[in-house]
């Protein structure tokens, strides 16, 4: 029972308490760049969850045979392999989405959340907790960018997932421009901090 509880804790901490976007504030590059529409955020979220779970799994299982001095290059090779898999799959099956995510798809390699979890968790933990950690962190990241993308797409284009929500709503174009990303993220960070303070 206790073991399952621990696994559950590793899983849930990434969603709110240690949310990678709002608490640790990592991985801001994709957070700001691709959150112009819910569709993009969904694609990026799934890609990151996949890479994070498998990189955590592999890194955790090789943690005892990797020499400490060259661990970072080793981790990068592992992460890059999974990112390449995601990239090729997406280009093959979802070419439109791959085109829209553009350079930010291969850039998942240097997404600090993935490296951060490898260094901060998978390196020192067993395989099963690492998988749950990756799952939770990936989900936390996905929920965060979905929230930002939802706000930005709705305010910036008046649509959600490409469908018009209200008629006669005059969208505020600034929200799908870069300033809108920073504005939304900043205000959500404030809100998150306040929610945390109040427990």
């Amino acid at each position: 029972m206790g073991k399952n509880n621990n696994l559950l804790k590793e899983f849930t901490k990434g969603i709110f308490k240690e949310n990678p976007t709002f608490h640790i504030v990592l991985g801001l590059c994709p957070t700001l760049a691709i959150t112009t529409s819910l569709g993009n955020a969904l694609g990026m979220g799934i890609a990151v969850i996949f890479v994070l779970v498998f990189s955590n799994l592999v890194i955790s299982s090789i943690r005892k045979i990797v020499p400490d001095k060259i661990r970072i290059p080793c981790f990068i090779v592992v992460i890059a392999s999974f990112v390449t898999i995601v990239e090729l799959l997406m280009q093959g099956y979802l070419p439109d989405l791959a085109k829209r995510l553009g350079i930010f798809l291969p850039l998942i390699v240097v997404n600090c959340i993935i490296m951060g979890r490898a260094e901060g968790f998978a390196k020192n933990h067993k395989v099963l907790p690492s998988i749950f950690d990756g799952l939770g962190m990936g989900l936390g990241f996905s929920l965060a960018i979905l929230l930002i993308a939802g706000i930005r797409e709705f305010l910036g284009t008046g649509k959600l997932l490409g469908r018009t929500v209200f008629l006669g709503f005059s969208p505020s174009a600034v929200f799908i421009l870069p300033p809108g990303a920073l504005l939304t993220l900043g205000l959500l960070l404030c809100l998150f901090k306040k929610l945390k303070k109040e427990g």
Partner: protein, 317 residues
């Protein structure tokens, strides 16, 4: 209850100057320009001004109430922000534009940073840029003065100059028209005469000093005279100064106490930076006017300027 003794930052001197007095004086000094704007563009402009001020005050009161702070709407800073937001709007915008603008100015640009005295960026200008980036369709369609109920749309002189390459006589305007404000433009920026009058009052009462406006206007004029579209040293300085929002910006927006440097040297650096950026944006960017962008960009440098030019404490090496 109002406190009897208000202690401000040192050095101390006994005076009647207070935030309230300053804000309402600036507010009053801007009124003539607004009256001129309403005279030129009709009652719609007046309603826009009222809506903008009203929204600003209500927003400030609600946020201060929610933050459990003292409600300071009577100090006039919210009213002034609302007024300046309206002055930066085209007289043809729908009524919800000043509402969104004033809300943004107070809620995001001012209160989210901690309220009066803590806002890095000029709230009214932040709102203008927010509106400009959000709804360029509304923010860049202007009307001819005296067009009455059948509003006749018209481009501002700066747009005509930049995009259609017209000069003043092609536009059917004279320098006097520009000076009095008989041209398409934002509500509060057109009446240069009344703006200058308000500025003189503020200068006379020592509410603002000449450092920022003068360095702003001088650096801008020099650059636009030297590097003009029609060749070196051929720029029409008078035209550049009388069009767009540079007079409103230089005297009333760039001199905002909170978002401008504290020292004289700092003010001059700030002004020159504004002038340089305004020139660059007007001359080389896709936008016909760059006063608001340039002041906001320089606002971001103010903490740096202040830190660099911090005066030495007496007796310290």
């Amino acid at each position: 209850m109002e406190e009897k003794l208000l202690v401000s930052f040192w050095p101390h001197i006994q005076d009647r100057v207070s935030t309230k007095r300053i804000m309402w004086t600036v507010f009053l000094s801007l009124i003539p320009s607004g009256i001129a704007g309403v005279y030129f563009f009709g009652l719609h402009a007046l309603l826009l001004i009222f809506i903008s001020i009203f929204t600003a005050i209500i927003t400030e009161a609600i946020i201060q109430f929610l933050r459990k702070k003292e409600i300071t709407i009577s100090d006039g800073s919210a009213a002034l922000t609302g007024l300046l937001v309206a002055y930066n709007l085209s007289p043809a915008v729908p009524f919800w534009i000043p509402m969104v603008g004033s809300f943004f100015a107070i809620a995001i640009a001012k209160q989210a940073f901690g309220g009066l005295g803590r806002n890095i960026f000029n709230p009214a200008l932040s709102a203008r840029v927010f509106l400009l980036l959000s709804w360029p369709k509304y923010m860049t369609s202007f009307i001819k003065p005296f067009s009455g109920f059948d509003t006749v749309s018209s481009a501002t002189p700066l747009v005509l100059y930049k995009e259609a390459n017209l000069n003043l006589s092609n536009m059917g305007l004279s320098y006097l028209d520009l000076f009095l404000g008989k041209r398409a433009g934002c509500i509060g920026e057109v009446a240069i005469l009344w703006l200058l009058l308000g500025a003189v009052v503020l200068l006379f009462l020592r509410i603002i000093t000449l450092h920022i406006p003068l360095s702003f206007l001088l650096s801008f004029s020099t650059l636009s005279w030297i590097f003009s579209k029609s060749g070196f040293f051929k720029g029409d300085v008078l035209f550049s100064l009388l069009t767009g929002g540079i007079i409103l910006g230089a005297f009333f927006m760039a001199t905002d106490y909170v978002s401008s440097p504290l020292t004289k040297k700092g003010k001059i650096i700030f002004g020159v930076g504004c002038g340089l950026l305004t020139f660059i944006i007007r001359r080389f960017s896709g936008y016909p006017e760059g006063v608001s962008f340039s002041i906001l960009i320089m606002n971001a440098f103010v903490p740096l300027i202040d830190r660099y030019l911090k005066p030495n404490v007496y007796g310290k090496k």
